[in-house]
Assembly symmetry: C2
Homo-oligomer: 257 residues x 2
DNA sequence: CTTGCAAAG
DNA sequence: CTTTTCAAG
């Protein structure tokens, strides 16, 4: 039996619900869903903001209201679950939640954005350094693992609409792209790219101007699979069709049993 | 030649413009317009937020962005103009602007609301005390004067939809109503009430619930005329028809030459 | 340009 | 319930 894993940065679960998230989720075919940037805390949530009956959820909130937050929803059996990446300030920002399923461990990760200035870019890079070592330790287990989420970096020139104009913008800096290459070098598979070597599809568009209408986007949302999981990859897609749930769109991957 | 004076609390000039303020102004028949709660500063304004060609404007901004502010617009000849009521903290909140026209002096006044708590109610009462003496001095000149604006007090039982339920709410407290009676006792004429002794019309409705649809309003916006001006009062009306420009509606008065 | 928050009404 | 501001993305 194959199963489908999805990830989407909802940029505010309340806004995403207004934009049709519940209906999208129902027809998405996902068995497991990783969400980032919930921008609401668990105690503010009502039915529409949470998992349907029969599903399980693990969620991590930022201490700051209206900011960050991540969760994993699953309709597959859950063996264990938790939150955090072992970096205090990042964990207080609610950036990592995970579930151990019967067939894989699934992480929902929201890597800090550096676009709001030097100070946040420095935090992003501290997170990247920690994440790199942490992900290497995960690979060392040999287990089937997926890291899903908004990594706020477009890896290659094919992952951004205008590589030339963005070489000095956070998210496409040369050293960020090099970090991504080294991450894949550890053994992670970028599922969408592995399944679609020549695709030019994006998962995020700026809200400024007509970026989305003109498809001036970036591919910054990923499903990374460890070797044991990547061996079962069947397909992966980016769901860029309207209606838009947020400034990001969902990324899916289907794995064999 | 008669002339028409209007007053309206716009609760954000930007929102009022979205709600059709420019078109309303054009068909209102006003020669002079007093505005309160502009909630934007002069340097943020573009064409739609300001007077049409051939008009004059005097405006006072709050120091705090997005807060308070008042102005007078006139298409009649302006002899002099100014701002403030001589109360430092209130003047820093941008609550009084005036124009000396050829036929009258016109004040646009935004009296503080006390609805957000005890501290603001105390400020309201300090403003009321100062305003009382200030308005008495104005009357002593014997000149034709109008004080227009949001006084944040409903005077009589006929000026509020539910007198019984509001006796403990700021804006209909017994001592506020008594202050208003004493103000009229100084010699000011409440133009709308003078022209419409039995009317039950309101100039403000809460945004909560269905207050406006159910006409559960308060009459808290006034045109007060000094004896010399009141002697020329021809008519006064409240423009409660949709489309709503804000949570308040305009109040008009027409005077003879 | 958009989300959600906060203060104020 | 609504306006505007603010931080953040």
């Amino acid at each position: 039996m194959s199963w489908t894993l999805g990830t989407v940065n909802v940029n505010g679960m309340r806004a995403a619900v207004r934009n049709g998230f519940p209906a999208w989720r129902g027809r998405s075919g996902c068995d497991v869903l990783c969400l980032q940037e919930l921008r609401m805390q668990e105690d503010q949530m009502t039915g529409d903001h949470t998992e349907p009956r029969g599903w399980k959820r693990v969620q991590v909130d930022a201490e700051k209201k209206g900011y960050s937050g991540a969760s994993v929803w699953s309709r597959l059996p859950v063996v264990d679950q938790g939150t955090g990446i072992g970096l205090d300030w990042a964990d207080a920002e609610g950036r990592v939640a995970w579930m151990q399923l019967d067939r894989a461990r699934v992480y929902s990760v929201y890597l800090p954005s550096g676009s709001s200035g030097e100070a946040r870019q420095a935090m992003k890079e501290r997170f990247m350094a920690h994440f790199f070592d942490w992900s290497r330790d995960l690979l060392a287990t040999g287990a089937p693992i997926a890291i899903c989420g908004d990594l706020n970096i477009a890896h290659a020139e094919a992952d951004i609409h205008n590589p030339g104009a963005n070489k000095k913008n956070s998210g496409f800096l040369p050293h960020e792209r090099e970090w991504f290459s080294e991450l894949l070098g550890l053994g992670w598979t970028d599922c969408f790219r592995a399944a679609n070597p020549d695709a030019r599809e994006y998962s995020w568009w700026s809200n400024r101007g007509q970026a989305r209408a003109l498809d001036r986007g970036w591919r910054i949302d990923y499903i990374l699979a460890s070797p044991a999981l990547a061996a079962t990859l069947e397909s992966s897609s980016i769901v860029g069709r309207t209606p838009a749930l947020s400034d990001h769109c969902p990324v899916l991957a289907t794995f064999g049993a």
